[in-house]
């Protein structure tokens, strides 16, 4: 609140550097001013008003000018008078200019006589304009900044919601990714199975080819192979029981001889076939003329190969059967020999086996079975004694 008592006062607000009191209308002319010279206060004011920026050629944008106040007598009471000049500018969230000055008169009571006063407020916006211009130029050159700045507040406000939404989307992505992965795994498995099948087929083909090659090799040295198989069978049988092994050895020898003979016979047969085929091919070739020589030779070669395979296969099967027969024969021989020894010692076969296991000489055992036959119990008793 301000309360003033004045006899005369005048003020002017606007732009420009002001005018001297001597140029004002008669109504506001005070004292005996000399036109063109002014009072001391007016001359001081002229210097004051043109100090600073104006002297630099930068005129203010806003001027509140109280050029000269002349008062003969004034009683002034001021109670909490505030005056504030602020310069504020804000561009989005990029620039926030705020600068100002405030004047506060808490409580003033005074009497003034014969006073001349001036007051002046100037505000320049050039710097603010330059800063804002530069900001706007930056935004003009980088329009994405406006978008990002505009979204910034929305992003902050909706951040939580978007986060939750993002989580949901992420979960969906995970689920989708998992499903896709499973699908891919299924596809991969299918492809793998296909590859396995293909590989198996190829392997089977290779096996067949290898079998054919093996058969071919067997045809070449069937005799030796069968003989080796037979010897292996003989060794196996020999390891089964020592006693039976001896018999099996003899049988194996016989079997080996038989296989050898068979192999030799097969070889001879193959040779004969080959020879015969060759002869036939030769005959065909001769009959067909020189032009058919190559074809006849191919036929002879194919026939020979086929026969060799069949012979090798037959020899292999025979060898297997011979080995099995040798094993069975060895077993039968062992059983028969044990039976004979049991009859010789007048003991049961179980007693014979127990005597062998316990190292008991049946000649020293007294039989308590039917007709004095030696039983297992007798053998165990003799072993305990």
């Amino acid at each position: 609140m301000a309360r003033t008592t004045t006899k005369s006062s005048q003020r002017r607000a606007g732009s420009g550097s002001g005018r001297s009191a001597s140029k004002k209308t008669e109504k506001y002319r005070f004292a005996q001013n000399v036109d063109g010279q002014g009072t001391v206060a007016e001359r001081e004011y002229q210097r004051y008003a043109t100090e600073g920026g104006d002297a630099m050629g930068e005129e203010p944008d806003v001027v509140l000018d109280v050029p000269v106040v002349k008062v003969d007598s004034i009683h002034l009471e001021v109670d909490n008078l505030r005056a504030r000049v602020s310069l504020q500018a804000k561009v989005l969230d990029l620039v926030n200019l705020n600068v100002g000055v405030g004047v506060q008169l808490g409580k003033v009571r005074l009497d003034i006589k014969g006073v001349e006063a001036q007051a002046l407020v100037k505000v320049r916006l050039d710097h603010v304009a330059a800063i804002i211009d530069r900001v706007l130029t930056t935004l003009d050159r980088n329009p994405e900044l406006v978008k990002s700045l505009g979204q910034a507040v929305e992003d902050v406000g909706a951040g939580a919601g978007e986060t939750l939404g993002g989580v949901g989307e992420a979960a969906e992505d995970v689920g989708e990714g998992a499903g896709q992965a499973v699908g891919e795994i299924g596809e991969g498995a299918g492809e793998a199975v296909g590859d396995v099948g293909e590989g198996a087929g190829q392997a089977v083909g290779d096996v067949g080819e290898g079998a054919g090659q093996a058969a071919g090799q067997l045809a070449g040295d069937a005799g030796g192979a069968v003989q080796g198989l037979t010897e292996g069978a003989g060794d196996a049988v020999g390891g089964a029981t020592q006693e039976a092994g001896e018999a099996a050895g003899g049988l194996t020898e016989g079997a080996g001889d038989a296989v050898g003979g068979l192999a030799q016979g097969a070889g001879d047969a193959a040779g004969g076939l080959t020879e015969g085929a060759g002869d036939a091919a030769g005959g065909l070739a001769q009959g067909a003329g020189d032009a058919a020589d190559a074809r006849a030779g191919a036929l002879a070669k194919a026939a020979t190969k086929t026969m060799a395979k069949e012979i090798g296969s037959a020899a292999s099967d025979e060898a297997k059967e011979l080995g099995l027969a040798a094993t069975r024969g060895a077993k039968r021989l062992g059983e028969r020999r044990r039976h004979r020894r049991a009859e010789q010692h007048h003991a049961t076969e179980a007693a014979m086996a127990a005597a062998g296991d316990l190292g008991v000489d049946l000649d020293e055992v007294e039989g308590t079975g039917a007709d004095g036959r030696i039983t297992v119990k007798d053998v165990r008793q003799a072993s305990a004694d």
């Binding site: 005129e59 200019l97 808490g106 009497d111 003034i112 006589k113 006073v115 320049r124 330059a130």
Partner: protein
């Protein structure tokens, strides 16, 4: 006279407030309560010149032929405009 660090005297102030008064007789009935404050990011310079008038006046004392000149200049903080080069500094645009 008071001045903030970094004050650039060559740069015209963004806000100026000033006044001067000359009185044949000046008498305060009670001790005045006056205060000047600044706000924002500013650089300020204040000039306070007095003739026959102490900085702290006393009530019921008549001061004769007293004069006072007070002027304050406020500039935007250099940090807000410090990267403005000489070429970028504002120039008068009015005709």
């Amino acid at each position: 006279m008071s001045s903030q660090p970094g004050h650039d005297a060559r740069r015209p102030p963004d806000i100026e407030i000033g006044g001067r008064a000359r009185a044949r007789s000046l008498r305060f009935e009670e001790k005045p309560q006056a205060k000047v404050d600044f706000h924002g990011d500013y650089e300020a310079e204040t000039v306070d010149e007095r003739e026959r008038l102490p900085e702290h006046v006393e009530p019921e004392v008549t001061y004769r032929d007293a004069s006072v000149r007070w002027h304050t200049s406020v500039r935007l903080d250099r940090r807000l405009r410090g990267d403005l080069s000489e070429d970028e500094r504002p120039r008068p645009s009015r005709d």
